[in-house]
C-alpha cells in the first residue's frame, strides 16, 4: 500500500523510497540523475523526475490508486498508459479528469485522488 512517508533528508539520499525506479538497466544504462521537482499528492509532498508523467511519479512513490468511481467507489489506476481509457484521471491543480499517464509533472503541481467525476458537486456519472 502507500509507503510511509520518509523524511525529506532520507528521501534525498535514497531518491527512490519504494524501490520502484529502474536505476540500472542492461540496455538503457544507469538512470541519469535528472532534475527533481516537488509535487503534492493528496497533501503529501513527493519528489518526481522532471519530464516524467504524473502516473510514473506516483508509481515510483508506491501510489497506485488514481481515482474512485462515482457509483461504487471502486479504485482505478493505470490501465492503458496512452491516454485512452481515462482510468488514471486525477484532479490536477484543481482541474478534474487530467489523464496522468500522458501528462508530465511540473514543479509545485497539486494532485488529488479523484472521486467520481471530480467536480465539487459529486455527480453520479461514471468518469
Amino acid at each position: 500500500m502507500i509507503q510511509a512517508l520518509a523524511s525529506t533528508a532520507e528521501r534525498d539520499k535514497e531518491g527512490d523510497e519504494s524501490g520502484m525506479r529502474v536505476t540500472e538497466h542492461p540496455i538503457l544504462g544507469g538512470l541519469t540523475p535528472g532534475r527533481v521537482v516537488q509535487i503534492v499528492v493528496d497533501g503529501k509532498k513527493i519528489e518526481a523526475r522532471e519530464g516524467e508523467t504524473i502516473a510514473a511519479a506516483l508509481l515510483a512513490a508506491g501510489i497506485r490508486v488514481n481515482r474512485y468511481t462515482s457509483k461504487r467507489h471502486e479504485p482505478r489506476g493505470l490501465f492503458c498508459g496512452i491516454g485512452q481509457c481515462t482510468d488514471c484521471v486525477m484532479v490536477v491543480n484543481g482541474v478534474p479528469n487530467v489523464r496522468t499517464c500522458v501528462t508530465p509533472v511540473a514543479s509545485g503541481m497539486v494532485i488529488e485522488t479523484q472521486h467520481g467525476s471530480g467536480g465539487r458537486a459529486e455527480s453520479d456519472e461514471e468518469v
Partner: protein, 367 residues
C-alpha cells in the same frame, strides 16, 4: 499533405512524400515521435533491409531525424480530433505540455492516417483493480519512464507482445511469475518464448486467469487450466502471489479517427478487427485519405514502414509528384510487402490483406 501518427508508418509516409516534393505536416498526439517504437528496446526481428537487428528505439530516432532533415514539419503533442470533408483536420495542440489546448484547423490536399493500434482488454473479476494493466502500459513504465509497475507480475497472453514485455520486465528487474495462455499453443515466435523460458518464466498453455484479488489494488491472482472441452480442471486451480497483472491479449487497429473521417471499415479477425478498407495504393473509400501501418491491419514495423512508403508515394503520385519511377517503385514495395507476409505467421495476413484490397478496389477510387 498531412500525416496523422508518427510511428514507423507515418514517418515513412512523410519522408517519402516530402522527398517527392510535397509539403508534409506530420502530427502526433504524443510528446515523442516514434509510436510503438519508443518503448521497444529490443533488437527487432524482421529483414535487415528494414533495420532488423537494430533496437526499436534506435530505428525511431533515425526515422525521426530523417523526417526532420528532409524538411517534414512535425507537430508533437498535437491530437487530431476530427477530419471534415476537404479534408480538413481539427487538431488540438499543447494539451499535454501546457494543459490548455489551442485548436487549429488544417487543410490538406492529402491525408495519411497512421494511428496504429490499441490493446484489447480481457475482463475477469477484479480486472479493474489498480495493478491490472495493459502490457503496453507496463512497457511504457519500464522502458520510457523507468519505473516498475509492480514487482511480481502475471502476464496474460503469449503472443509476441506478451513474450517481449515479459522479457523486458525481467530486464528492468521485476519478476514475472508466469505467463498464462488460454489457447493450447503459444501465440508468439518460438525465439521469444525460448528466451523467457531460459530465464525461468513458466508459460502455462490452456490456462487462464480466473480473478484478481485485492481490496484497493492487486494482491494476488487465481489461475486455472482448461481441459480440451474448455472445462476448468479443479486440481489445477492455484493462487499466485503477484502485485501486477499485465494483459497482452492482442492489438486492434485504432480506427476511431478513420471512422470519424468517414472511411468505410471492414472486419478482419486476422488483422485485429475493424479497420479501414483500402485499395492497393493504401487509399481509403474517402477521396484523398490514405492509411498505413497497424491501422491498416496489425502487423509489424517492417510492414508498417513499407505501407507508409506506399501511401506517401501514392499520395504524391495522385498530385502529379510521383516522379518517373513511381510505378516501378510501387511495384517493388508491393513485392517486399508480399515477401514479409509468408511463412506460417505471415500467410494468413497475406490472405486477409488481399481480401481487404479486393473490397477496396471496388469502393476506393484512387484519390
Amino acid at each position: 499533405m498531412a500525416v496523422v501518427g508518427a510511428g514507423p508508418a507515418g514517418l515513412a509516409a512523410a519522408i517519402e512524400a516530402q522527398k517527392r516534393g510535397l509539403n508534409v505536416l506530420l502530427v502526433d498526439m504524443n510528446l515523442k515521435a516514434g509510436g510503438q517504437l519508443i518503448k521497444q528496446i529490443h533488437k527487432f526481428f524482421g529483414s535487415h533491409e528494414h533495420r532488423a537487428g537494430t533496437r526499436g528505439i534506435d530505428i525511431a530516432r533515425d526515422l525521426y531525424e530523417e523526417a526532420v532533415s528532409s524538411g517534414v514539419e512535425v507537430w508533437l503533442d498535437a491530437a487530431v480530433y476530427a477530419i471534415y470533408p476537404g479534408p480538413v483536420l481539427e487538431i488540438a495542440r499543447g494539451i499535454l505540455a501546457t494543459r490548455t489546448a489551442s485548436k487549429e484547423m488544417v487543410h490538406a490536399s492529402r491525408v495519411v492516417l497512421a494511428t496504429g493500434a490499441s490493446e484489447n482488454a480481457v475482463s475477469f473479476p477484479g480486472w479493474t483493480l489498480p495493478g491490472v494493466m495493459g502490457a503496453g502500459a507496463a512497457q511504457t513504465m519500464i522502458n520510457v519512464e523507468r519505473v516498475l509497475p509492480g514487482k511480481r507480475v502475471l502476464m496474460v497472453g503469449s503472443g509476441n507482445v506478451g513474450l517481449i514485455v515479459t522479457y523486458q520486465l525481467l530486464q528492468a528487474g521485476a519478476e514475472v511469475v508466469a505467463i498464462v495462455e488460454v489457447a493450447p499453443k503459444i501465440g508468439g515466435y518460438g525465439v521469444h518464448s525460448a528466451k523467457v523460458r531460459r530465464a525461468g518464466v513458466p508459460i502455462l498453455t490452456s490456462y487462464t486467469v480466473l480473478r484478481a484479488f485485492g481490496d484497493r489494488q492487486v494482491e494476488g491472482a487465481e489461475i486455472v487450466a482448461y481441459d480440451e472441452h474448455h472445462n476448468p480442471i479443479e486440481e489445477t486451480r492455484q493462487f499466485l502471489d503477484v502485485d501486477t497483472i499485465c494483459i497482452a491479449a492482442g492489438l486492434k487497429p485504432y480506427a476511431k479517427l478513420a471512422a470519424l473521417a468517414g472511411c468505410e471499415l471492414i472486419y478482419s479477425p486476422v488483422l485485429g478487427g475493424w479497420m479501414p478498407v483500402h485499395d492497393e495504393n493504401m487509399h481509403t473509400s474517402v477521396p484523398g485519405i490514405y492509411v498505413a501501418g497497424d491501422l491498416a491491419g496489425v502487423e509489424e514495423a517492417s510492414t508498417a514502414l513499407e505501407e507508409g512508403r506506399l501511401a506517401g508515394l501514392s499520395a504524391a503520385e495522385s498530385l502529379g509528384k510521383g516522379g518517373p519511377d513511381a510505378a516501378d517503385e510501387k511495384e517493388s514495395i508491393r513485392e517486399r510487402l508480399s515477401m514479409l507476409r509468408i511463412g506460417p505467421f505471415g500467410k494468413a495476413r497475406a490472405d486477409a490483406k488481399s481480401e481487404v484490397i479486393k473490397v477496396g478496389e471496388k469502393i476506393c477510387r484512387a484519390g
